[in-house]
Amino acid sequence: MKKIKAAIIGPGNIGTDLLIKLGRSDYIEVDYVVGRQESKGIAIARERGIEATTEGIDDLMKREGIQICFDSTGANPHRLHAPLLKDRGIFTLDLTPAAIGPYVVPAVNLTDELIHNHDNLNMVTCGGQATVPIVAAINEAADVVYAEVISSVSSKSAGPGTRQNIDEFTETTRMALEQVGGADNAKVIIVLNPAEPPIFMRNTIYAKVRNPDIQKIKASVDAMLEKIKAYVPGYTYLLEPIIKDDIVTVMIQVEGLGDYLPIYAGNLDIINSAAVAVAEKYAKKLLEVE
């Protein structure tokens, strides 16, 4: 079957893991990988028979046939790339904190309309992909006044991009908890833990609610968990929803697939699996398959 051609800009941890995940897609093939210097990611692309350049976005602009682009560079580079990609009519998934387009969290707001109306969608952050759906599920059942999220990731899985942009990371996640998750207000905390062997990505979600019916909340969160498992199989409860007064606590662990980084790097998996889910929906639309 014909596949939609995609490019990846920025073959670091995220980009290289995407490359491997997209290798399994029935609808998308990675046609081109774009970096600015020789790197491990570029080498892996070439090993897999995918053409790669170290000349940056200019080379991508010359390439014909690309319909989807994943940008995992950084906020500043993406601000430069976005208008160029738009000019070429390339549907772009932004995996940086630039957030030029609206946030997309597949289990919550991935609709035909969203894809139809926008050519640039932002994938929030790994913490956002892991926690916005839970807040949305609690909000649906109980109306969330305030959501607070603590994401712990292993030091090994947090690359320089995350480390040097930790403020953007927390702010982007916070905004998505409010705009997509539906919390009136939110706060986000991120902790890096260097323990060996590395910890799995884990997220604690606290939600102060207006309607503290724990049975209803649990049913809603259970259903959401199943929805996410469809694209992130290693997404599981560490602590099922419990409540004290009007504060709900849920803890989630994300075990990755171990594609590029080992399975502890669930943070990488969840944002990438989400990006693939969005891209495949778009590709299926182009291919006119159900």
Binding site: E148, Q164, I166, D167, V191, N193, P194, K208, I247, T249
Partner: protein, 340 residues
């Protein structure tokens, strides 16, 4: 003899001991007494630093900004410091703190994660703040690793780098080994912050000085997380007795603790931090000192022994800020013990 620059953290680390419920008047009174006693730097705010107010760490009675504004209004000589933990507080919060009167910031990271402080240290320097790099949980890393991380903070522009014993788990020889190694290889001055969970905080502070530290922390009557910090009064006396100069007046700092802090603590029915079985286990297991009161609450909520919770957190290698792990650990212990 080198002089010691004294930082008092009664109004920041001690916030843990009152679950972040200091009133503005209480903060002002204590800050004023600290300044009168000659303390160089006074750190204030939520125990977990700027915008630490949260479900996870406990909500503060006031925002950090309200505290800063209030305390800045009574200080004329001492420098006003805030704590900023990247991952919790943002640069925009620091800008606000600066505008309201904070002149010193301590940017804190786990001892192996200094590179998350790059943005914040650089921004603080650009704002013209005196900037301290604060390497927490220093018992968890070797002297070589601590040096590597301290060098990063130095390269971002930190004016001082602290070896911070957040768990009160370090012993005097270890303090000496780590700080003297840094002293031999680092250009910027070194500081030490301690907790008295193993009863050696004052001894550790003296050792830190001997190893080359120029900046030392204390709090009045040791008012801080776990079994408390090095008491500023006791440290002042011990330094004076060793012939080491500070700007702090011994009688006045004793009075600050006795006549200002103590009545406040008694009036609110809080306890002065002191050695107890929980704080001892915190030091022994090497767990973040401010986990203590959270672990105690979780022990009551789930009906399990606080010490079991703390030991389990030590085994999981929890780091500062992971108070949320306490609930999971306590919940699991309760399940294992058939209490749920």
């Amino acid at each position: 003899m080198r002089k010691v620059v004294m930082t008092d953290t009664t109004l920041r680390d001690g916030s843990h001991s009152v679950s972040h419920q200091f009133t503005l008047e209480e903060m002002k009174a204590v800050a004023k007494s600290l300044e009168e006693a000659g303390v160089d730097i006074i750190e204030i705010g939520h125990g977990d630093g700027l915008t630490g107010s949260s479900i996870n760490y406990g909500f503060g009675r006031h925002t950090d900004f309200e505290y800063i504004e209030a305390v800045a209004s009574v200080l004329t000589r001492s420098k006003l410091a805030v704590l900023l933990i990247p991952g919790i507080g943002l640069i925009e919060h620091l800008e606000k703190a600066k505008a309201l009167g904070a002149t010193v910031v301590r940017v804190a990271t786990h001892v192996t994660e200094a590179d998350v402080s790059e943005q914040h240290i650089k921004a603080a320097k650009k704002m013209g703040m005196f900037t301290v790099g604060f390497l927490m949980m220093a018992h968890m890393a070797s002297k070589e690793v601590i040096l590597e991380e301290a060098r990063k903070m130095q390269s971002y522009g930190a004016d001082v780098v602290y070896v911070t014993d957040s768990s009160g788990a370090m012993l005097p020889d270890e303090v000496f080994e780590k700080i003297s190694y840094l002293k031999a290889h680092l250009d910027v001055p070194i500081g030490h912050h301690s907790h008295n969970n193993l009863g050696v905080a004052v001894a550790n502070s003296l050792k830190a000085y001997e190893a080359g530290a120029d900046y030392l922390d204390g709090s009045l009557i040791g008012f801080g997380a776990g079994a408390g910090n090095t008491p500023t009064e006791m440290l002042t006396a011990a330094l004076e007795k060793s012939g080491i100069q500070t700007n702090v007046d011994l009688y006045k700092i004793i009075d600050a603790g006795d006549q200002v802090l103590k009545p406040i603590v008694e009036a609110r029915g809080s306890e002065l931090p002191r050695f107890n079985s929980d704080s001892l286990i915190i030091g022994y297991a090497g767990v973040y000192s401010s986990f203590m009161l959270h672990a105690k609450r979780a022990s009551e909520r789930f009906g399990v022994d606080t010490r079991d919770i703390i030991i389990a957190l030590g085994q999981k290698k929890a780091v500062g800020g992971q108070e949320d792990w306490i609930i999971e650990v306590a919940h699991n212990l309760a399940k294992e013990q058939g209490k749920l």
